[in-house]
Subunit: 437 residues, 2 copies
């Protein structure tokens, strides 16, 4: 091992948004302890951003509105990309890696969609790329998968990796607020964007899951293969029925290795209330990882926010200062494992079947499920309601099934849906037992 240099590590920060300001704050407030950990000073030499913010303490760095002052300055040891967005950030990281430079980014979107290309650039040009902050903010899940659990074959992981969804589901669960109201509240508190699609429809979580899957399974960055479903269809009633059955509904990112291929999926799921993940509430994130040596381990913390995200960005910088190299995952082309289409995924199901309150309906439904070899684990029949249009009396039949392949469940649901006694669309939510298959 070569001796570590002692001169200051010279860094340039691209962007001056909340995370970049968090990075500057952490470097200022923890200067001494960071120097002790890194073995040398970390010096912010340049900051560049479209909009000057004279109120921000740049720690003596030279400011410019021109990113080229950083990207063209060969005296910098590390370039930190915090401009966000996709196009310009991708261009910047691509350019810097092509020059063989050391880059730190928090940008999950460019990793999810162009991760293979970026890793290839690192391989070809001998640069370095670190991205602890890209997934789950202050939780060191990247370090964990690439270094701490390196002795394991990862069997599966399941994470609450979108704080907006978790905040909304927590408010729906705890206070019985409907989705729209919980979303409005999240927006008011700054936990959801004005256009919340990216979060509530699961795209953000799919980006993060793509990164986790690439590291856990060495399958490359397969964003296009991730099955993605959001939470906008979840009702307070679903949450209540789930609770009666001993479950909580959480929005999960799940990656699982199976003999047939890898499952990569983002969707709401019922999980047993006794699981630690079921108690992860509000905007907090957590990832449960199952490795064949370590067994189940769980990592919990703030998934967003200026300082938690900065904690991870600066951790990457400190590792560079110590002369440590981030792990380089495999590419899609190295390891062409199939990602299973959702129809081939097996899981339990929660079904809400709105049916006329007539004798024999439940028996008919049970028969159809049985004909498809689907076992019922639990069922509850709820109090009568009156159909708004037909004025007929109806009840929701709630069924929890044993694990079954999705294509089989689809066929069974289609058949049940055709029964004359079924008065509305059957709702289905997957059940995750967070154990071995």
């Amino acid at each position: 091992m070569s001796a570590q240099p002692t001169h200051p590590l010279r860094i340039g920060i691209c962007g001056l948004g909340t995370v970049a300001q968090g990075v500057l704050q952490v470097l200022r407030e923890n200067r001494e302890s960071i120097r002790a950990r890194a073995g040398r000073d970390i010096q912010v030499v340049r900051v560049a951003s479209r909009t000057p913010k004279p109120e921000v303490d740049l720690l003596g760095a030279e400011f410019s509105t021109d990113l080229a002052t950083i990207t063209e300055d060969d005296s910098l040891d590390v370039v930190i990309e915090l401009i966000g967005g996709e196009t310009a950030a991708l261009h910047l990281v691509r350019d810097q890696l092509t020059r063989g430079r050391a880059v730190v980014t928090a940008n999950k979107a460019i990793l999810a969609t162009h991760g293979d290309e970026l890793i290839e650039l690192v391989r070809t040009h001998g640069g370095l790329l670190a991205f602890e902050a890209a997934v789950a903010g202050g939780i060191p899940i990247i370090d964990t998968l690439t270094r701490s659990l390196a002795a394991n074959r990862i069997r599966w992981l399941a994470g609450i990796i979108n704080g907006t969804c978790n905040y909304i589901l927590t408010a729906m669960t705890g206070q019985g607020k409907p989705f729209d109201q919980a979303l409005a509240e999240a927006q008011k508190l700054g936990y959801a964007e004005a256009d919340p699609t990216f979060d509530v429809e699961g795209i953000d979580a799919a980006h993060k899951l793509t990164v986790l899957g690439a590291l856990a399974f060495q399958i490359g960055y397969r964003f296009r293969d991730v099955y993605t479903e959001g939470i906008s269809d979840i009702s307070v009633e679903d949450i209540q029925y789930a609770r009666e059955l001993g479950y909580r509904i959480k929005h999960l990112g799940i990656a699982r290795m199976t003999p047939a291929g890898v499952q990569m999926r983002v969707h709401p799921a019922l999980i047993p209330e006794t699981e630690l993940l079921a108690s992860v509430d509000g905007v907090m994130n957590a990832v449960l990882v199952n490795g064949n040596a370590a067994g189940d381990t769980l990592y919990y913390g703030a998934g967003a926010g200026a300082l938690p995200t900065a904690s991870s960005v600066v951790a990457d910088v400190i590792e560079f200062a110590r002369g440590q190299k981030p792990y380089l995952p495999a590419l899609v082309s190295d390891n062409e494992i199939r990602v299973l289409p959702i129809e081939e995924v097996t899981s339990g199901y929660y079904l809400k079947i709105p049916s006329l309150d007539k004798p024999g309906v439940f028996a008919r439904v049970a028969t159809i499920l049985s004909e498809h070899d689907i076992s019922i684990e639990a069922a509850i029949q709820k109090e009568q309601a009156v159909h708004t249009e037909t004025q007929e009396a109806w009840v929701p039949i709630i069924i929890l099934t044993e694990p079954v392949q999705e294509s089989v469940m689809n066929a069974a649901i289609a058949e049940v849906q055709q029964l004359p006694a079924i008065v509305g669309e059957i709702r289905r939510i997957r059940v995750e037992l967070l154990g071995d298959d």
Copy 2:
């Protein structure tokens, strides 16, 4: 950064107990994925142990009953110390570090009691020392404190770091079993030793807390300064009363930086049932860390067992294979921060005061507490019981106080204890709110 070597990393394993067998199993079963992560093969060249175990697959390594075959073999890149115990292990690690070698150990006892000496040897002779497996088995808490959270100033950490204690308290809580019965059950299941003192009196947890404190606060290995209390005095009644007040009783290791000095303490504590730590049950471990950037993060997993511990040992080996260097903490002498005596620690208290069931007793107790400026947060007065000796009617008065310095609480308890209406020893358990002071 120097190029990584590609020849196999040659390792020697000292010891052939359960953890060593776990290491061999992990290296065998995960050979390919480990090679991919490490960038080279990891070759077990030698294994030495007092007792041959012909049934164990040594992966082609040469076996000897003489440790010197490993310690004297300069062709080995890494020596793994898994012989356990203190004297011989310390001698071995000390010797190897004096020769400037790379050592991996899972031995918390030698770190806790001689950590400063060993770190000094690494500094002086340029060797390497890694010990992820020494604390909390498969949970990567060492990596987390030294690398992932390196940008933070750690404010405090609190952990369930002894699986035996947690198993016993979980059985007492869930099934109302008294301590002795829960301990016997733990012994039967192999979760407790025949002589359980080391675990149930908190010594094992104090060893681990010493290691965590050294890394979190750069204060050296201060085992002698750790306040240590076990769980053998906890009763099922205490657990029930705590639950009525919304708390669980857990055995915690707590390290906290305060302006007056560092708190280093191991003892049972009431924690709010809404805390994730309160849901960590059975033999599982978890550590909650508060950093000034990341905020609260929590790490959960198996704290013991052959494979989880091997997961951490092999992770250290893989880092060596990748040419990465473990972090070197400061020594006591670098950073002479005072560890606070327990009398100077501030916390809330649960008090169980056995008193005659007469008017005015509670008021008298409350007055004494108030005279010591101790605020009562909650109180419950339980149903009457009859004193076994005097046949007098008595009731336990249960009080939860606001945080107060222990010396003040000691004085107040001494005064209350003198009241004629108090018919037995007052029990006190600390309350940890797991927040900022």
